[in-house]
């Protein structure tokens, strides 16, 4: 994941290496490159455009300390903006008491909802919870069987009702069953649906209205193209998502969906699926991912250190000036600028 995007961006930064200064001109050039790298990585067009605008503004305004190369400063700016694009994230699940805490999984067909339910249940049982999974995908052939098989693999019970197609009823009864049997978390597996399928989206709304889930997650395939944000937007309009779970994060996708969804919907990615095994789920950390995209954690650290060092030095100089009574108007102006 992200390797290809990282390569492209590294090439862009390499182009800046020889330059002595960040100017409006050479930044413009770099931004065009970054923009096309982002688009090739399936980042949504509007997000890519806005991102580049933000980075450009920061870059032109940025003070390039003379101990640092402009390219390194640029890396740091892009890194911070990437992290901001995807964050902040609080992947904690707000457990309620008395329970059960209800988690609803929604998404397109084939995004990996059922598998993610299994992974989530396993993660929660390892955190000393007693989850119950509810098989509310009554559309896809053998979806109930699939959840039951997963349940038996991880020792988590599955509530099923076969032979009818009322998902609202199944979810309601599942939660009743959980209360009776002391399950503190309920995970609802719903049928995959297209965002534009009014009938099925309506069903999902009804489920959410009937059971009032504590968390509604959109399960999204990391390889999704420009459509990722459309899907997330429509699901968010109808369901009020709490966050996304990005699956197939272990693919070689350049990760446009990961970079686009938060900016467009305001809802962060909270978890990522990173493999076929049922323990392959992780919390999402934007800082780490931004580092991975750039593959330049060392430079980011270096710039941070240098900036800190520079600030300390400046402060010391000022102290000296003040003590000796040489603190002039231009020093004052510099201080004011820094406060901005």
């Amino acid at each position: 994941m992200f390797d290809a995007l990282a390569d492209r961006l590294n090439n862009v930064f390499r182009g800046l290496r020889g330059r002595g200064k960040i100017t409006e001109e050479n930044v413009g050039e770099v931004m065009r490159e970054i923009r096309s790298a982002l688009l090739e990585a399936d980042v949504h067009l509007d997000v890519a455009t806005e991102f580049c605008k933000d980075v450009q503004e920061k870059a032109i305004g940025a003070e390039v300390i003379n101990t640092l190369k402009p390219a390194d400063v640029m890396v740091k700016i892009v890194h911070d903006e990437l992290a901001e694009l995807m964050g902040p994230v609080d992947p904690k699940i707000p457990f309620v008491s008395p329970g059960p805490t209800v988690l609803l999984m929604a998404g397109l067909q084939g995004s990996g909802k059922t598998t993610t339910c299994g992974k989530m249940a396993k993660m929660l049982s390892e955190r000393a919870k007693r989850p119950l999974m509810v098989a509310a995908d009554l559309k896809r052939p053998a979806a109930i069987d699939q959840l039951e098989v997963l349940g038996s693999q991880i020792n988590v019970p599955v509530y099923t009702e076969r032979g009818h197609d009322n998902a609202v009823k199944v979810c309601r009864n599942g939660i009743k069953h959980a209360k009776k049997n002391d399950h503190d978390v309920v995970i609802l597996d719903t049928a995959g649906r297209l965002a534009i399928d009014d009938e099925l989206m309506g069903e999902l709304e009804k489920v959410a209205g009937a059971v009032n889930p504590q968390q509604v997650y959109l399960v999204l395939d990391a390889m999704t193209g420009q459509d990722a944000v459309n899907t997330a937007k429509i699901f968010n309009e109808r369901l009020e998502l709490d966050g996304c779970i990005l699956t197939k994060f272990d693919s070689d996708t350049r990760g446009g969906a990961a970079l686009s969804v938060k900016r467009v919907t305001g809802k962060p990615i909270k978890f990522i699926g990173v493999g076929e095994k049922l323990d392959a789920i992780e919390e999402f950390h934007p800082q780490r991912i931004a580092g991975r995209i750039l593959g330049m954690g060392d430079i980011v650290g270096l710039v941070e250190q240098a900036q800190k060092h520079y600030d300390e030095e400046e402060a010391k100089k000022l102290e000296g000036k003040m003590a000796s009574g040489k603190f002039g108007l231009d020093d004052f102006l510099l201080q004011l600028k820094k406060m901005k």
Binding site: L39, L45, P141, Q146, V149, A195, D221
Partner: protein, 315 residues
């Protein structure tokens, strides 16, 4: 999916595609209307058009090619949105026309062995069900092989399709060797003189070397029973996939000698523009597209209809 009576199929498909692609085509259609206001075609307009095309997953390179072709004859000349749509639609259809080729079942091979491959969740099992229905409707005897022995309940899912369509399913147990199952299925289809054998496989990400090697093994084992097989290897692609589809085709082509593509889920908001990029880069036939969840919702791929629906051009 062999040749259909062209007119009704085309109409039906066009209506469905229109409906399915309505969001994307409205986006392209509306976008084009905003950019081109009967003024002279200039560089800024071309840049905007390029961006707009990118939002349909067509890829930066193909977007550039298309805008360059538009610019070639029309730069600095007055141009209307309708003209832009028509020219783009025509150019896209030109790229796609040579690869719009239905799956031909060669009767010289009995069974004609079709291997379905793809990443997780693209709709391989569902597509096999629909394909079986279509082939059976053409009077062919069809057998299915539940070669996805990994995903929980994938075997049951295919068995349900088998019952629905009324064709036999060869299945083993969960976790069994998929290559062994494929071998057994070829043997059974041969002895029962089936016309077509459709083999399902587990979804696998193309960057997982171990899983891709397993796919190679399945092909090898099929060849032990029939050295000419598999006769078709179909890569099932999800229309919501972005530029990663290029990497999928590349990897599966290399490992499994993919002979054709089927794109699923074109009835959603996804645009499937990536097909144009794929056509330019690989030129693999597109056999069919999935435009709905019903058993009959697998349609032959029609280049002109697809191009018109994608660009919002009027036919």
């Amino acid at each position: 999916m062999t040749t259909q009576e062209p007119s009704p199929a085309r109409k039906g498909l066009f209506a469905r595609l229109r409906q399915g692609l309505s969001r994307s085509s409205t986006a392209l259609k509306g976008g084009i209307a905003t950019i081109f206001t009967h003024a002279k075609l200039d560089a800024a307009m071309l840049d905007e058009l390029e961006d707009l095309l990118i939002t349909s997953d067509i890829g930066a390179l193909t977007a550039q090619t298309l805008t360059a072709r538009l610019a070639k004859d029309r730069f600095d000349k007055e141009i209307s949105p309708q003209e832009v749509r028509a020219i783009l639609s025509g150019e896209i259809a030109k790229i796609l026309a040579p690869i719009a080729r239905p799956l031909e079942i060669d009767p010289a091979h009995t069974p004609y062995i079709v291997l379905m491959v793809g990443v997780n969740g693209t709709g391989k099992t569902t597509t096999i069900g629909k394909l079986a229905q279509r082939l059976k409707g053409q009077g062919k005897s069809v057998m299915l092989a539940a070669g996805d022995t990994f995903r929980a309940a994938a075997i049951e899912q295919l068995q349900i399709w088998g019952t629905r369509v009324g064709v036999p399913v060869v299945a083993g147990s969960v976790g069994a060797d998929a290559a062994g199952l494929a071998f057994e299925a070829v043997e059974k289809a041969q002895s029962q003189k089936m016309d077509v054998l459709l083999i399902d496989t587990a979804g696998r990400l193309q960057n997982k070397a171990g899983l891709m090697a397993e796919l190679e093994k399945i092909t090898r084992v099929i060849r032990k029973r029939d050295p000419s097989g598999p006769h078709a290897v179909i890569l099932v692609l999800d229309a919501t996939t972005g530029q990663n589809a290029l990497s999928q085709v590349e990897a599966f082509k290399q490992t499994a000698d993919v002979t054709g593509l089927i794109m699923t889920k074109l009835d959603g908001t996804a645009r499937g523009g990536i097909l144009v990029a794929l056509a330019e880069k690989f030129g693999l036939p597109i056999h069919a597209i999935g435009v709905g969840e019903g058993v009959d919702d697998l349609q032959p791929f029609d280049a002109a209809a697809f191009a018109e629906a994608l660009t919002g051009a009027e036919s």
